[in-house]
Amino acid sequence: MMLYSGLNDQRGIFLNSESIIGITSRITPADSITMFESTDTPLIRRAFGQLASAGFEVNEEVRSSNFNLDLDPENGRYLLVSTSNYRLALPIAAYAVKTNSWVLLVDQDNLDEVANRIEDASQVIAVGNFPRDVLEAIEPSFTEWINNNNIYTDSEEIASRFGEIPSVVITDGSTLEAEFFTTPNPVILSGYNRIIDDTITFLQENNIKNVVIVGNKLSVVGEQIRASSNKEISVFIKFGQSSTQKLGRVYALTMYPMPMPTLKITVNRVIYNPIKKELIAYYNNLGNVGTYTLTTMTVKVDGDEIGSASDEDVIFLGAGEVLPVAYDLDIPIDDIDENTIVEFYTSFGIQPTELDAFLTMTNKFGPPFSLTLELEEIEEDPAVITLDDVAYYLRYKRIGMDLTNNVTTPVYFNAKIRNLIVNGLKKDLYTEGELIGGEGATVYIPIELDDIDLEENRNFDITIAYGSDSSFLFNSIEKKLPFRTEGSAGIVGFVTSIVGEGSIPALIGLIVVVLIIVTIVVVKRRKR
């Protein structure tokens, strides 16, 4: 609806709560009002009745369960983005208003409809990645595809199409606000509390003088821009709205959250093991999606640095995972007391190339994240497990890893498979569990791979962290094994899953014999 308003040069207002005041406070009885209401689960049902009661006349009422399709002006000009790339939708929206195009959000549910609409369109510009099964249906209609495998670069490339621009609007893509549909300037993406270096470069190379940041939550990004540009770029933070009826009150902007995964990490504790001279940080992924992190840390006593450490490479944390990571560090034990703190400068994101957020203390927008350093002696862990085999099971659509616990006591583990191609896109997988002492087990990760994935995957890149204590998974296995499959899909796979794959020739022979016998019996009965 907001895009529809922008394309028709009209003012769009949306609700983000169940109070009709969110609308009535921003319109007058002299306005001509068209109301759009979802038929699924609107925040307020039959809101036009409440507006009428408040003295406003609704000229037109429009209801739909899919405004993205129903409001399409069908002028043959489209911009496409995958629903898994919602953050890109806002930079695209600004470009759509500029070029009088319609944005279609594509996923499996509307794939056929979208493919039909764009088939004879004069302009179909796709932006960002798409899963393979979606791509196959729509790619033949592309007139152009903007895809740098990086949403920040994608948003900057879109911004470049505006020509010479004195100003840009910056958003982290997490919330929708009217500015993105009314501004004549491009919209580019930033991190949630961190500006990407490439973005600073883009601003400087394009001689951007002014930046408008939507929402006070991104004020830390604004300060980073000011600092990085030596204050040559002016930053305006759009933070409030009001009217002369509001008795002097300034209210928050009306913003609506975009459907996005929850990204949240923390560090539960940090300890120093003097036996192995290691600092161990326990990273915890509190979100609902796998997340990558990269950390630099300093150890301080009363403000004085006594040591530092950092990650050599990004670390992947599965959703819900608690991962202890050990850093070699030699600190005198006498320096560790209740005043010893560790300051974490941890950036994280859903892609290793998009670490666009900083870990911060509660109620703070910028790093560091600080914890008191604990002292704990941790002996060498005798746990030993081996990774014997791994395969993709076609019939059951899952990966199976054969693990053996070589000690008599239980061993805990978490296992990750990196960069597996799934539906055309690289994906990291994660699982965790426990192995009974002295026994082996096959550990499964369900995942569906299509035929092209089966051809394109070359290896299983596996990392397993394990230990006798679930809090201390310090032993590890890193292996790359050739990608291979087990079993067959379909009815043959079903049968062989029961009788065993080696029996296929005998099974086929048996089936043929049975068919012959049945045929003979049927023919004889007919003759009688």
């Binding site: 001509s32 979802s38 037109e60 009422e61 429009v62 204050k231 002016s234 009001s242 703070k364």
Partner: protein
């Protein structure tokens, strides 16, 4: 989809479907702000129209006016902003002195096109001969600066009141843009200054035109120092 009649100028989206994917709670942030007051003044009439809701950033001594409305508030790091889930955030602007708050009615496409406003940029009701017209209200001028990046000469401003008397710190400037003629009223932030209310502090105080019949919407921006 049902469509009952042709659409006109203003479009409203009353509701959005609650998405079937997990979403964060919609949030709204409220800045701390003062209660707008309507004083009794020396004249007998209290103005009941919208434009009468004016803060005591007095234009003339104890005169209530129907042509102006005001906003005031704080933007310092010491102010905690609530979001929709009752979590407090600290505004990260550590030093507001030198920052500017803008109340904008209209569209600003290029902030570098800001220029001083005069009465011809104001609503008609502020261009006449009334004692609280634009020229009598914004009756001083000086160079408007924001840090080292912005300097506009001869910008008219109104000196707002502090602690019940006309102050010396909190000024409200009148600006516009050369391309869109947006109405922009600016205040240079002064950390924890005395507001027009005795004993209460504010970082900015703004006067904006008020249309008598309907509310005039404004969007607020903070330019970082």
């Amino acid at each position: 989809m049902k469509r009952f009649s042709a659409s006109m100028v203003l479009i409203i989206l009353a509701v959005l479907a609650v998405a079937q994917v997990a979403m964060a709670q919609p949030f709204g942030v409220t800045t701390e702000n003062g209660t707008q007051k309507t004083g009794t003044g020396t004249t007998a009439t209290s103005v009941a129209i919208t434009g009468g809701n004016v803060t005591e950033v007095n234009i003339t001594a104890a005169q209530i006016t129907g042509r102006w409305a005001g906003f005031w508030g704080s933007i310092t790091a010491g102010i905690n902003l609530t979001d929709g889930v009752q979590t407090f955030y600290a505004w990260t602007v550590s030093n507001v002195t030198g920052a500017a708050v803008y109340a904008v009615n209209g569209s600003v496409t290029d902030w570098d096109l800001m220029q001083r406003a005069n009465d011809t940029h104001m609503p008609v009701n502020l261009q006449g001969e009334a004692t609280d017209n634009f020229n009598n209200t914004f009756n001083s001028s000086e160079t408007f600066t924001v840090g080292t990046s912005r300097s506009i000469d001869n910008v008219k401003y109104a000196m707002t009141w502090q602690d019940g008397v006309q102050g010396t710190l909190l000024k409200s400037y009148a600006l516009t843009t050369s391309d869109t003629n947006a109405e922009i009223f600016a205040a240079k932030a002064v950390g924890d200054a005395d507001s027009f209310i005795n004993g209460v502090e504010a970082d900015f105080q703004l006067i904006v035109p008020a249309q008598s019949a309907y509310a005039t919407p404004y969007e607020f921006y903070l330019e970082l120092p």
